[in-house]
């Protein structure tokens, strides 16, 4: 089941100690699909990285379930990400020289020995659900953008996390591929009950979300929940 998110008093500052993002109070129900939109440079990626415990300097609290990741040290944050959060990026960030399955099962390389096999199987089954032959020996170098992003999604889900954080997952895809991908991503998140937070300026994402949060100038400017 997905995790609930509760943010309070969050302030993220950049290297020049300028405040990039301020979120006084935000709650996200477990298993919901949240889209984050806003103009370029507004702080959307900053928000997402903060939720993953990757923000450099942040104060306040970001609580997933009952874990405040800002209260954790670097190693414990990494461990939390490893088990609870799956990340998807705009430009996929795959290892081009590896096969789809090797990429999707990548988190297995640093998982405990006992969990590696399960992760590999899971990665293979997610790939299959996304229509990519997991046993293909082809390296992802020759994959289309849509296929690459599916591999990235399979990688995010390999450790069966409760949360998926996606930053502009459709930005590198053409319209058709983007629509198909959003369908897949949202469908997977919903059927498995994951909490999905997707930063996107793509209306296809907004339409399928339960809730759309708009960030402007580092502040939440609007927050709309759909029935």
């Amino acid at each position: 089941m997905g995790l609930a998110l509760a943010i309070s008093g969050l302030a993220v500052s950049g290297r020049d100690s300028r405040t990039l993002l301020a979120v006084p109070d935000l709650e996200v129900a477990p298993g919901s699909c949240v889209a984050v939109k806003g103009p370029s440079g507004a702080g959307k990626s900053t928000f997402l990285f903060a939720c993953a415990g990757l923000a450099g300097t942040a104060s306040g609290s970001i609580v997933w379930g009952d874990t405040d990741i800002l209260a954790l040290g670097i190693q414990k944050r990494a461990a939390f990400r490893r088990s609870a959060i799956g990340l998807v990026f705009q430009d996929f960030l795959l290892f081009e020289e590896l096969s789809a399955l090797a990429n999707a099962a990548l988190p297995g390389a640093f998982a405990p020995a006992g969990a590696q096999k399960a992760m590999r199987l899971r990665a293979a089954s997610v790939l299959e659900r996304l229509g990519i032959a997991p046993l293909g020996a082809r390296t992802v170098e020759s994959f289309s953008g849509g296929e690459r992003q599916r591999v990235a999604i399979a990688r995010a889900l390999a450790s069966d996390p409760d949360v998926i954080l996606a930053d502009e997952p459709t930005a590198s895809l053409d319209r058709k591929a983007a629509d198909a991908l959003v369908d897949d991503l949202v469908r997977l998140a919903r059927t498995d009950g994951k909490t999905l937070v997707a930063v996107s300026h793509d209306s296809a994402v907004h339409e399928r979300a339960d809730r759309v949060i708009e960030i402007i100038d580092g502040q939440i400017a609007s927050d709309t929940t759909y029935a």
Binding site: G56, I74, A78, L106, P107, F110, A113
Partner: protein, 440 residues
């Protein structure tokens, strides 16, 4: 406190010491590797990184291979030369000649390098031949040539001393018989006229009236003697219009004893004692105002000692090159890992423990260093093999290339040092901020 350790060490066979030293030198690399990689499986990613910038990676490996190859090659080549020259002088227990430079005589009598030297008289030769414990006293009368092959006057016993058994044909029985070295381009039954002098200075017409016939061929000796033509010393004298060592009514005789008053002289005499120890007595006996006696092996050893100093300078140079290459490789690794910065940041964003990312970078560096080192051994040996062939072809001294412990020790030390130093690029890569790298 360490005394017992040294005692055990000294008690070990040399091969065991070498093997142990190799293991000890490699140990830091292995230990660091175990500590860094333990519990992780970084190789899939390392393979991906190797492929990603394969030409850059190959260039790095080649760079390391060349530097390691230089070190390996220098050591192996020096040993090959040392052993080859020693093997070529093996048969020459004690050489007696007129006083002069031992080194000149070594080069002339043992390696057949042309040189003008004064002669020993018949009386001196007989004194040597009749001395106590002398098993063999063979004149070595060099100075003539046929084409590029030195023609050396000596006795049949000397031929048998050089080659236990002829490869082909028979020993000389008459003055015009010749036995050729293994690599002389003549066949049994061929006839030829010697020239006075050697190589460029040879005067082909000088002995046109005299003809030798090839009657035998020696086994290969791995020395310049493989290119030499051995003839009865009497013939060399006759060719020059001199008495031939025997009484005029016994002129057809071949081999010792020689009559002192009919003996025109020989530049050198090879002496072999019946017992090893007697060589020393013979050497002092013939170290006089009129004669010089020396062990070619000992002269060679002091020459090698001199070469040893050169070798040390060369090894220092080889090490300096390797240190420079190591520094270059480390700097390159820092840059290469920056090329991977986004991928490495991704791993950390996915929750990879720092130690895992560290192990990936370090393993990547170690694969480059390790393959470069292994390839370097191959490069070094190939270079040594090539140079040895050239040296063998030019000097007829058989130089063999081989892989010995000193090279392996050098490579092991190089690998350990670089692999331990490769921890630095890994630390540097880890110190980079994740989000900055992720944004690319």
């Amino acid at each position: 406190m360490l005394d017992p350790v040294f005692m055990v060490w000294d008690g070990l066979p040399v091969a065991a010491q070498d093997a142990l030293l190799f293991v000890l030198l490699l140990l830091p690399a292995v230990l660091v590797g175990l500590l860094v990689v333990l519990g992780f499986r970084p190789m899939t990613l390392v393979r991906a990184m190797m492929w990603r910038f394969k030409w850059t990676n190959l260039l790095f490996i080649a760079l390391i291979a060349v530097s390691v190859g230089i070190g390996v090659g220098l050591i192996a080549q020096e040993r090959g030369l040392r052993q080859g020259t020693a093997r070529a002088a093996d048969k020459f227990d004690l050489v007696v000649s007129a006083p002069g430079s031992e080194i000149t005589m070594l080069f002339a009598a043992v390696y057949l390098q042309p040189s003008d030297v004064p002669l020993l008289t018949g009386a001196q030769y007989n004194a040597i031949a009749n001395a106590e414990n002398v098993a063999l006293a063979a004149p070595i009368a060099f100075g003539d040539s046929y084409r590029s092959a030195p023609v050396v006057g000596t006795t049949a016993d000397f031929v048998l001393h050089m080659t236990d058994e002829l490869a082909d044909g028979r020993l000389f029985e008459v003055h015009t018989d010749a036995v050729i070295g293994a690599n002389v381009a003549l066949a049994l039954g061929d006839r030829f006229s010697p020239a006075h002098g050697v190589a460029g200075a040879a005067d082909d017409s000088a002995h046109a009236h005299f003809e030798y016939e090839v009657v035998g061929r020696m086994q290969p000796t791995g020395s310049p003697w493989d290119k030499a033509i051995l003839v009865p010393v009497e013939a060399v004298w006759e060719v020059h219009g001199l008495p031939n060592g025997h009484a005029p009514d016994d002129a057809g005789r071949i081999g010792p004893p020689f009559l002192a008053e009919q003996f025109p002289g020989t530049p050198a005499v090879l002496v072999r004692a019946e017992e090893l120890w007697a060589n020393y007595a013979l050497r002092s006996q013939f170290t006089t105002d009129e004669t010089m006696a020396f062990f070619p092996g000992a002269v060679l050893a002091s020459l090698h000692g001199l070469m040893g100093d050169v070798r040390e300078v060369m090894s220092v140079m080889a090490i300096v090159t390797q240190v420079l290459v190591t520094a270059g490789v480390l700097a390159g690794l820092v840059i290469l890992t920056r090329l991977f910065a986004r991928r490495l940041a991704l791993l950390r964003a996915l929750g990879a423990p720092r130690r895992f990312v560290f192990s990936v970078i370090w393993s990547y560096a170690s694969v480059l260093i390790g393959s470069g080192a292994v390839l370097g051994i191959v490069v070094g040996l190939a270079a040594t093999e090539a140079i040895s062939r050239i040296v063998t072809a030019r000097t007829d001294i058989l130089v063999r290339s081989s892989l010995g412990w000193p090279e392996l020790h050098l490579v092991a030390a190089f690998v350990s040092v670089t692999v331990v130093l490769a921890l630095t690029p890994a630390f540097i890569a880890l110190s980079r901020p994740v989000v900055t790298d992720l944004r690319g």
